[in-house]
């Protein structure tokens, strides 16, 4: 039990050590893929424990709960762990035949597992300083991954990516300092206990705002998102899809955790702020996405637009709203990674990401078309795929609680999403192949190229078919978040 709780952190560490010494490409690939598979098995086992109804928690370092470093896995953490490990498996297979995999595979896997270490740690942290350290691990390895290959574009984009994300971590650290000064604790459960009785919300708001800015930069919300479209299209497509699927969602995870567990003193101010930001994020991201002509740029702006929906769920702040936010995040992680992977496959076939230079793919490889249409329709919210239920829950929650404006904005933004997905579909698949192609010879895609996309696509379809049970689970997770007594007890009583 103790071992199972710590395994999502231990496995990446062991993998990192392996990849420090392995210099042979083939061995590195086998070890890397089996490591990610192992991670998936572990997270499914953790999920099984969590489904029994308890919260897994342990304290590292031999000190009791508020002083030692807590590791807590509740329903939301377990769900994030499972979904991110599905993505990790897909990406570790996809790397094999990318240019990055051919030249830098051993280096890639080392930093890949460092990134996973940070991500898993962030999902399991029960202590805010510990969360900061996981964020930094994630950040440093993402710096390396985004510049891996050292092309001019990557370096230019890397500087922008680093600049804003570093400022974000400084906000995070300053927030931790001020919060510790006010409450004298860093343990999330202990903070929740202390702040529950505290009525001086005005004093807590200053730290809450610092955390909001920090997570807002990580999650790429409206006025803080500029690093994302400037950098996500420059690295190898493997790295882009990994970042697109998981990184911003860690910011969303942290925001949901902080603003349900202990920053709940001033709901009027925070929920209105979240509503405004959610709406603007959706619309601005959606409009920017529909104005671009390069698949990766469309999809990058589209990430931003979708972050708005997750914030909308958090802002509604009813069990249904939070459940919608979690469900939407799950669906989005899978579908978004998948669309990036398919755009990588289009690029491999045609040698270009620009929609003006590709076309005729529907006739040439109908399989690829099906692989694209599953996540694209899921993102657009077509039933019976996962995205339909995700949006349905959020919109229902919005109407139920009387937030008509944001719900209207969400529905209209859905049209923008549909438009940008149809644009990629029309241009890349239906349109006739343009006269001058970058790549003349045809490339047959191997099964291992398609497999990652197949895994993620079937996950999206399954999430649509089993939307009922998954929704019930997210509902449980959401009500546990809104009533954190069990969380506090299971951490503090150890």
């Amino acid at each position: 039990m103790m071992l199972l709780t710590i395994l999502p952190i231990l496995i990446p560490v062991v993998m990192m050590i392996f990849h420090l010494v392995i210099r042979v490409r083939r061995t590195a690939a086998i070890v890397g893929i089996s490591g990610s598979m192992l991670l998936l098995v572990t997270s499914v086992l953790i999920m099984r424990e969590v489904l029994k109804g308890d919260i897994l928690s342990m304290v590292v370092g031999g000190w009791e709960a508020p002083f030692g470093i807590s590791i807590v896995i509740d329903r939301m953490s377990a769900l994030f762990l499972v979904v991110s490990s599905v993505i990790i498996v897909a990406i570790s297979i996809f790397t094999l035949h990318t240019p990055l995999g051919k030249t830098h595979l051993t280096k890639f896997y080392f930093f890949f597992f460092t990134l996973i270490l940070g991500i898993n740690g962030a999902f399991m942290a029960g202590d805010i300083f510990n969360l900061y350290v996981w964020f930094e691990i994630m950040l440093l390895s993402s710096f390396v991954l985004i510049t891996l290959g050292f092309s001019k574009d990557q370096l230019r984009a890397g500087i922008k990516y680093m600049a804003l994300n570093l400022i974000g971590s400084l906000f995070f650290l300053a927030g931790i300092g001020l919060l510790y000064g006010k409450t004298g604790t860093l343990n999330m459960a202990h903070l929740a206990q202390i702040l529950m009785d505290d009525e001086q919300s005005i004093l807590i708001n200053s730290s809450a705002m610092l955390f909001f800015l920090a997570f807002g930069i990580k999650a790429a919300v409206f006025p803080l998102y500029y690093w994302l479209p400037a950098s996500y299209h420059t690295p190898d497509i493997t790295v882009s899809s990994l970042f697109a699927g998981i990184l911003t969602k860690v910011g969303v995870y942290a925001m949901i955790r902080f603003f349900t567990l202990f920053f709940v003193q001033d709901p009027l101010f925070w929920h209105n702020l979240l509503f405004v930001i959610a709406g603007l994020t959706m619309v601005v991201g959606g409009m920017a996405a529909s104005s671009r002509y390069e698949t990766r740029k469309i999809l990058s702006y589209h990430i931003i637009s979708q972050i708005g929906y997750m914030l909308m769920g958090l802002a509604i702040f009813t069990p249904l709203g939070i459940a919608g936010a979690i469900f939407f995040t799950m669906h989005n992680m899978l579908a978004k990674t998948n669309t990036f992977l398919v755009s990588g496959l289009i690029n491999r076939k045609r040698g270009s990401y620009s929609l003006k230079e590709v076309g005729g793919l529907f006739r040439e490889s109908p399989g690829l078309a099906v692989l694209f249409i599953i996540p694209a329709f899921a993102l657009a919210g077509i039933p019976p795929l996962s995205g339909f239920f995700a949006k349905f829950i959020l919109i229902k929650a919005g109407f139920q609680d009387g937030h008509y404006i944001i719900t209207g904005v969400a529905i209209l933004t859905g049209l923008l999403t549909l438009y940008s997905m149809i644009k990629i579909w029309n241009e890349a698949f239906l349109k006739k192949s343009p006269e001058q192609q970058v790549k003349k010879e045809t490339i047959r895609l191997r099964f291992t190229d398609l497999l990652p996309s197949l895994i993620l696509g079937s996950a999206t379809v399954l999430m649509g078919i089993f939307a009922g049970p998954i929704f019930e689970f997210t509902m449980d997770a959401a009500s546990a978040l809104l009533d954190p007594v069990l969380y506090m007890e299971s951490v503090m009583s150890r």
Binding site: F129, F150, L155, I159, A163, I176, Y180
Partner: protein, 116 residues
């Protein structure tokens, strides 16, 4: 002491923001160093300063609780300093490589990456 340090934090933040707004990549990195040091000091300061006291009590010597300095902010700042140091080293390496590739340190000379 707190008063002086608070002013120092303010000065460091000001200098850091000023440096961030410059066009040179190197000055930007110096700005990040200023900001991260200011933040470290802020964390240290916000937790309260108890000068000249040990962080761990010796029960045999019969010390009381009043004579205790909080060890946690020291540990936090130590961790943050190390992380900040690592990041600055990596930034400098990237900056070196960027200069090698583009032959310029001026952010305005770099082509924007966003446009079509």
């Amino acid at each position: 002491m707190e008063f002086l340090l608070a002013i120092l934090v303010g000065v460091l933040y000001t200098a850091g923001v000023y440096m961030l707004l410059r066009r040179s990549v190197l000055k930007f990195i110096i700005g990040i160093i200023f900001l991260s040091n200011a933040t470290n000091l802020l964390v240290f300061l916000a937790a309260g300063l108890i000068p000249g006291e040990p962080v761990f009590l010796d029960p045999a010597a019969g010390s009381t609780l009043q004579e205790l300095a909080d060890p946690l902010p020291q540990a936090l700042v130590l961790t943050a300093v190390v992380i900040g140091f690592g990041i600055v080293v990596y930034l400098l390496a990237v900056k070196y490589r960027l200069f090698h590739e583009t032959r310029t340190d001026d952010l305005d000379q770099l082509k924007p990456t966003e446009e079509e």
